[in-house]
Symmetry: C2
């Protein structure tokens, strides 16, 4: 019974070229993570529902994919919810497991569960897929990879310095020059809210401020007013709207604005420390920039906040982000473990590299040489040579069938295989190989050693 | 609110050492796949339920993890099933997606869906996790990786020859010597069933025969009798029970047994062809062995059947398997596409390598050098050196906090970091580094170049 095959919306098949390009990014990130001393862990694709539920807010709870219990799952269904046909209420009684929504909560769970085996400070990285039942749209998928590096167990600001260098190292290795690493600090935002008398409206205030780039100063002020922030407070904010210039000069302006807030001053101190260290150490291709409107995931971060913007020539949202969170593992009962981490946005980085044509040609680990199949006797002779080529690290194969030569040559062309070897009676007798360069058309008759040399060139 | 964290049964966390060891196996397999001309694809973790359901038998259907629809899923629940509280009947109306159960059915779906973009014969490999709601037990998990290589679009027996060499290449690269690649052919089994007049009882017959090693000749005969295979038929089987000796001599015996079966003779011919080719080409460390009792996944395979046994010194089930299937994509409406493939059992290979102590020490990509942190001034000096070391490919890090020296040295010991660098006032002034070898205890004062040289040694 034939079915027209398809895949669920928001998911993707990856063909060999796409896998190779994705692996190029993964490997570059992984290599930098390891150079910086991060160690890999992996956690299960699904967690117990209670591990995930309630950690991402109501919206997050809705977007978590739940797995139906096996067997006669209705036998344990909540009777009231079943009678009322209440989907939300019924879920927890028919589903105990859910697909990972991010890598951070599973990491927190991992740290708490394995705390006695872990040597702190613990620098871990994790590159695994996550799943969200979001409405799919351009660049947003229901299954996508996250690439996270975090340190837990140290509140040293050197970690922030290291993460900025790590971003720079990865994007430099990817030859993606001109990215901007934006930094802010939760304490700056708290300080400003305090100064304008809106400490209780920190979220509303930062959500509005975050839109400055998109909707402009007037609209931001309107939104703040509508959220109950006073005219007087907004007036005090004025210097913030026009904050510009170097990292250092912005720091100076902030000192003026935040002179009455202890928390604000602490934030300034942290930013200045990080900036000074980076000035001494230098960045290869990225730039560090202070952005006081940056507020991503504010509920979560307690210190530094990072976001990476693609080079200005490319239209693309952030390609990375992160920050410091002071009590991540507290939700699982382990308190006072400070953490800081960053994440790389694989899909967006892919799109940027594609747009700027930055994938190296060598990414595709294609077959280097195809042996044409003229029949069983020739094929066996070829396979002996192929075995030697492979031992030399050359990707080689035999066309499986003794099909028409034209068909086999077309196959080599369609797969962009650079060399073809032809072996007939004459070559077998003289133990030679006719090697054809598919790009230049040049043809040589060579022995096995010369064959290896020619292909390796 | 503290929770005691845990993970779902049958799933696993992997710590850095385990991830590194698993990646060593994955990378070895991947590298061999590419050398042999296989190209990677990836498919989504979940598929539409109709893609998976009904493809693995009733038992398989039960073991597939189903994903609950998002939102108010009960609004579309099948009314009758809901009233009857019939879990099995209700499922398809509240769950449209399911987690991948293996890599073969998604591959078949991929080939049919993308048939116009694929250049056949198509050699693909796929290394991804699969999920089964099996009862967890030692060595059996609910989430585990499969590593598959398949060719579709060619019925050439050279593929079988290639797959045997591929198994040999992978296990040789893993230094796992002494594996046995067992081979059989569905046509041999069909031929035998035909000869003993039990063609309609092929499954019963092969299931019984498959147990020969475990339960012995008499019990196998009893089981066959109980399944309705005649005494006369079983008598004709006698030579099969005592089949032994070389591949060639077993082939000769089979020729006698199967002289009246066209299909049987075809199977013999195929086996002989493969064996002759492998005799010429040779295997590095594996042995090829004919096993007429081998019947795994018989419903599925139409030609060659493979299974790999670990070295005899290790108690372990099969560590790989595969075979030829002539109409895999037919279930999705694309007929006459022959396929053949093999799979590697990651978890069991891991256990075997562990037991035989075959993981190279270099697998763990640990930090090579830890810089002790004596304070901010020293730390900054250290980070400048660390940056240079990393550019040289050396995994290096700074201890993040200016903690007591003993604590920092303990940290280096616990993480098995081979070198530690100490930088104080004196080193800063003379631009030198005190390098301590943590294994020998030896300590040297060196400049940056010598530091790099020493660590690279």
């Amino acid at each position: 019974m034939a079915q027209k095959p398809s895949i669920p919306k928001g998911t993707r098949d990856f063909n060999p070229e796409q896998v190779a390009k994705r692996n190029y990014i993964f490997n570059t990130i992984r290599s930098a993570f390891e150079t910086f001393g991060f160690q890999p862990i992996e956690t299960p694709s699904f967690e117990n529902s209670e591990t995930l539920m309630g950690k991402y807010g109501d919206e997050g709870d809705r977007l978590i994919f739940k797995i139906l219990n096996s067997g006669d799952y209705l036998s344990k269904a909540d009777a009231t919810a079943y009678t009322e046909k209440d989907s939300t209420k019924l879920t927890s009684s028919i589903s105990e497991k859910a697909l990972r929504y991010d890598l951070t909560v599973p990491f927190a769970r991992y740290v708490v569960q394995h705390q006695n085996e872990i040597e702190f400070p613990f620098k871990r990285y994790q590159i695994q897929p996550v799943w969200r039942a979001d409405r799919p749209q351009k660049g947003r998928f229901r299954e996508f990879y996250q690439c996270d590096a975090d340190v837990v167990g140290s509140d040293s600001l050197w970690q922030e310095v290291e993460f900025i260098q790590l971003y720079d190292a990865v994007f430099s290795a990817l030859k993606l020059e001109g990215v901007t690493i934006k930094i802010n600090n939760r304490k700056i935002l708290s300080g400003i809210a305090e100064v304008i008398g809106a400490s209780d409206k920190l979220i509303d205030f930062t959500v509005a401020l975050d839109k400055l780039d998109k909707i402009g100063e007037e609209k931001v002020k309107e939104e703040m007013l509508s959220k109950g922030i006073s005219e007087a407070g907004i007036t005090k904010l004025q210097p913030l709207f026009t904050l510009s210039g170097s990292f250092e000069s912005q720091i100076e302006s902030l000192k003026g604005i935040l002179s009455t807030s202890e928390e604000g001053k602490k934030g300034i101190e942290e930013l200045a420390f990080i900036n000074e260290a980076i000035s001494v150490l230098g960045l290869s291709t990225a730039a560090l920039s202070l952005d006081v409107t940056l507020a991503r995931g504010l509920n979560y971060y307690t210190g530094a906040i990072f976001e990476v913007a693609a080079p200005k020539t490319v239209q693309m949202g952030s390609i990375g982000g992160g920050g410091r969170y002071d009590d991540l593992t507290g939700i699982f009962g382990l308190n006072n473990v400070s953490g800081v981490g960053i994440s790389f946005g694989l899909d967006r980085i892919y799109l940027v590299l594609e747009e700027l044509n930055l994938f190296p040609e060598t990414v595709l680990k294609n077959i280097e040489v195809l042996f044409i199949n003229f029949g069983n006797k020739e094929a066996l002779f070829c396979l002996k040579a192929i075995k030697q080529l492979r031992l030399q690290g050359i990707n080689a194969e035999l066309y499986p069938d003794a099909a028409k030569m034209k068909k086999q040559m077309n196959h080599a062309n369609k797969r962009n295989i650079p060399f073809v070897v032809l072996v007939g009676e004459e070559e077998i007798n003289s133990e030679t190989y006719s090697l054809k360069n598919m790009i230049t058309g040049e043809q040589l008759k060579v022995d096995l050693n010369a064959l290896i040399d020619q292909i390796k060139k």
